[in-house]
Symmetry: D2
Subunit: 341 residues, 4 copies
């Protein structure tokens, strides 16, 4: 961290900063410029970075953090890249290696017929994971909130039938034991990206976690959320870009694909992209799925519904099984063009 | 809701929309324009508004919602305005009537000495509520996470000493019973504004709820979050603007004061403003506190620390007790200028 | 347009809206719902859409535009897609057909040696256009502002040597004659996207126009800016996505690739992408260039400098000629995967 | 400026940075931390700050600017605060001293009757300046574009009748001579805030300039735009906050009132606020006008129209003369509460 003093800061103020640095166990490094004095804080200052301890000292203009605040999530924390395994036995799927993984399924689990039809179609197209929501975060209390445990049971039954491991959302710390008893991968939704108790609860789970970026979360905050999970003991975290909130109204969210490339530079964790929520429109899912793979994503999460116009949630952005098949073909061509499978 | 058909939509597509409207229990109202046909949905369509059921039908270009999706939070749901009472007996404080209410206190409860000093000073300046965090949502897992129940006990002790009712944050549904056993008002933080299970749990509490706007939440979403609490049975909700996330870097967040005026038009609920988080800088707290009252806010939440430069959280935006006293004087002058006390 | 009346709007207020609609030459279409009355405006209301004439009438809650406000830029205005030809004779380049076109060159023209080296390298890699700034919009008045006409001469000399048509920015209406006397394509920069006199001046030019999206322009506004050029008589407009301003700080701008897919749906105009400004970082240019082509862009604009660390502008996002060559190879593989060349 | 080296940067890379710093005429100041080396650039580095010269060097992770890039606009450039005088003789108005100044008038000048009615009413209410647009930047080429010079003449005639100095927008460098021959103050609109040639042309005018913040301009960029005017020779610049573009849809723009307080800290220039464009809704103008004065603005710009529902531009946000009178009374009370007149 670098502490920038105000112009004309007094010697006493500079000394105050220097002694505070020492008090906290770091070494100060003074540098007097023409207009300003700056004081470097030498040492691993991640723990004090968020606390704003220096900004509040007299004579301080601003503090500039030099180290990224995440550590376990950082690129150089591990040699190579993390590959996360979802599911067990012969159906296990690896995310983060050469193969592109597609998780497909309905936004919300509605009935056995719906889940079965989608799961069978998804498998036939080459999807490797089944996604579906049993607990649904909804903006309105009057909207369909999901089938709850009944939905989890339907997903498990679809897994038995198709062999596809299942990814499903968990919304509260106390629901983690229930959800992990059915799911192969716990999803933390965008609205819960900074639900810190939930992050910690998932961090104690033995199941991998798919962590979605919050609507207005910076990439640094996404990695700090991952850090909560990692530092609670769970090293199997998959990051997921799903669109950010901006002024643009042509799309539901603005899918930030540069996030994929940045996260690959900053972190060793695998990165998936959700072009369904990222755009909110069925016609944009295929182009953005292709683009995501082109810039290095390890996988995709795509909403599919046998009859999107009857979906209880997210119909406008759901593909039909036939559209999924076509999208998978297009994505496959891109994957090969970037040397993946 | 109005369903706008694509240019050149076929009669069969229009008929599909019409029959779906009838199937859902509404009346269709057809209107053929020069370029487009539009179909009105007559009836209370709030429940289907979020579900996107019509957008997914063939031939549909877009759906335009006409009714606001909130109902219990809406201005015309009650006669007059809601006044929320925090605390009991002689120390009870009314929020939403003629009097401006200031809640002051430390970001995080750190020690008895700290809480006591701030509480006594806050009371002396005219603050009517004591705020302080025992459970702290922190971006970094390595930052101070709050004293937990011990912090709640210190707050309760300060209430005994000063008579100030206390406002404190609750972060998970399962912590509601513990927190409400100490607090006079439950705070739901910005990051939890769409933690729907928490909203519902607070909706079942007998204590009033201070609901902070999420970092990138629209005002409509804020009122939908309030709707979760209201529809769970708790009618004592205070809304709080605390700054939104934008591209501007001069301030920690962009305090959206027009939110105050809009919320007063749209809803009957009282509105407070948090200029500390809204700006992130001590020098901006007083001007924005004045502005908030000038445009109609019912109260303020202000962070105060006896030694901001030693605060474990949010030091740069905390006022000293002396600064609070000066801010209170300035705010008082504005309150009188707008006919309040 | 649809005029939504306030709840409880009086008959006189409704009549006021109806007669205003008639007065402006449209037909009203009344629809009384349970809570609200809505009045449809039948006819081509593009011309009144921006003017807010109905919102200001008593009893009106809001107006909802149904037609997109652009007409000449709209997808269905022409059969097929517009292909823009840049340059003349054997060196002419078509943008918008099956071939992907890359425009490469320095951010700012600095010297003959610099331009020549880049132009020769760009051509060798397969770039089809030479880009370079002679007039530079700079945030700071103390930064290098470009070589002016001298820079245009250097670009023209490079065109003579390599045969590559040149694309260069024009910043004011009165500079259009000068710039078009050298350039093959006039670039309108992001900061000038709503410089309406400049749009009109370029609209009267015989040279094609590359129109960059403004930092916080919606796609609808981008197409309205194109509409200014088109309606002034110039039908050769190329749209360019170059990143939008958001809260994210990991990248200079947030490259909105879904814009490509949306613009292709809404308009017949070709779309290019600028991954250099869109990301601001050299290491992100290649992945985002691949992604842009994967989702349907017709071309790319890439900054190249022989010695980026000595560039007078945008060094951090400039590729070296060697990096350009590698990027071109990668982009070529993607182009083939999506059936282009 | 501080150059932060990548972890593990080699001695040769560090040496490269050091010698580049010396080559540019600055002194390097080396500081080796546990994980990183940082190199301070000692000297006035404003001129190289925008150019990104160091980021592009091998081994550099990032560059952190310490000095604000503006100089003439900076708070400490002058003793005291700048007071700008608009108009001449007895009608001259000072902006930036103890008195609050309100500029009122129609968005667009439409006719003599309209301008006269508004000007007379504005004066009667206590407004000190007449605003009105003769040249109108409009998103759509099909919207009313203003009366041009005829509009300027009407404004001048209204000045003769009422004595109110006039503020009006200029859109291109070449129109500056024409507009300044009529106007007392040149307005640069939000869309032109980074039209650098226009800034320079206004910088050579003898008339004061009202500079509006761009829709997505940071406060630093606003001050850099002011710096263009100031460094071209015109020291009479008034800054104007008029709302920024965000995700919130309840208001046309998000009025950033903390900008007022920040600009007062950073700069010596006076600051006005435009609550009409800042909100886009008539009912929000008065509350935000009060708030603007409460937080320290020196004046307001308010749109007024005798019949807002017939306005050719911005009717929904225009006040009637009666509403202006009421707003002026409310603003007066706030002004007195903050010790102004």
């Amino acid at each position: 961290m670098i502490v920038v003093m105000k112009m004309g800061a007094s010697d006493a103020e500079i000394e105050g900063v220097v002694s505070r640095i020492r008090e906290l166990g770091f070494s100060p490094h003074l540098s007097r410029g023409e207009e300003r004095t700056i004081v470097g804080v030498v040492g691993d200052d991640r723990r004090v970075a968020e606390e704003g301890m220096f900004e509040a000292l007299p004579g301080v203009a601003e503090c500039v953090r030099i180290l990224k605040p995440f550590k376990l999530a950082a690129r150089d924390f591990v040699a190579g890249r993390t590959v996360v395994t979802v599911g067990v036995g012969s159906g296990a799927v690896k995310i983060g290696d050469k193969n592109i993984v597609v998780a497909a399924g309905p936004c919300a689990v509605e009935s056995w017929e719906q889940v079965e039809e989608v799961a069978v179609a998804a498998k036939a197209c080459g999807a490797r994971l089944l996604r579906g929501g049993a607990f649904k975060p909804r903006t309105s209390p009057y909207s369909f909130q999901g089938l709850g445990e009944e939905g989890l049971k339907l997903l498990a039954r679809a897994r038995e039938e198709t062999g596809l491991p299942i990814v499903t959302e968990v919304m509260t710390p106390e629901a983690v034991p229930l959800v992990e008893s059915y799911a192969d991968c716990l999803q933390i939704g965008a609205r819960n990206m900074q639900n810190f108790h939930l992050l910690q609860a998932c961090g104690k789970s033995s199941k991998p976690v798919l962590l979605k970026r919050g609507l207005s979360a910076t990439l640094e905050e996404l990695l700090m959320a991952a850090e909560y999970i990692l530092s609670s003991g769970n090293r199997n975290v998959i990051l997921c870009e799903r669109g950010m909130r901006t002024f643009e109204r042509a799309t539901r969210n603005t899918l930030d694909l540069s996030a994929v490339a940045v996260l690959k530079e900053w972190s060793h964790l695998p990165v998936m992209v959700d072009p369904s929520h990222g755009t909110g429109q069925r016609s944009l899912v295929a182009p953005m799925a292709r683009a995501a793979i082109a810039c290095g994503a390890d996988g995709l999460i795509i909403e599919v519904h046998p009859q999107p116009e009857r979906a209880l949630s997210d119909g406008p952005q759901s593909l039909t099984p036939a559209m999924l098949a076509e999208t998978m073909r297009e994505v496959g061509a891109i994957a090969r063009a970037v040397g993946r499978a």
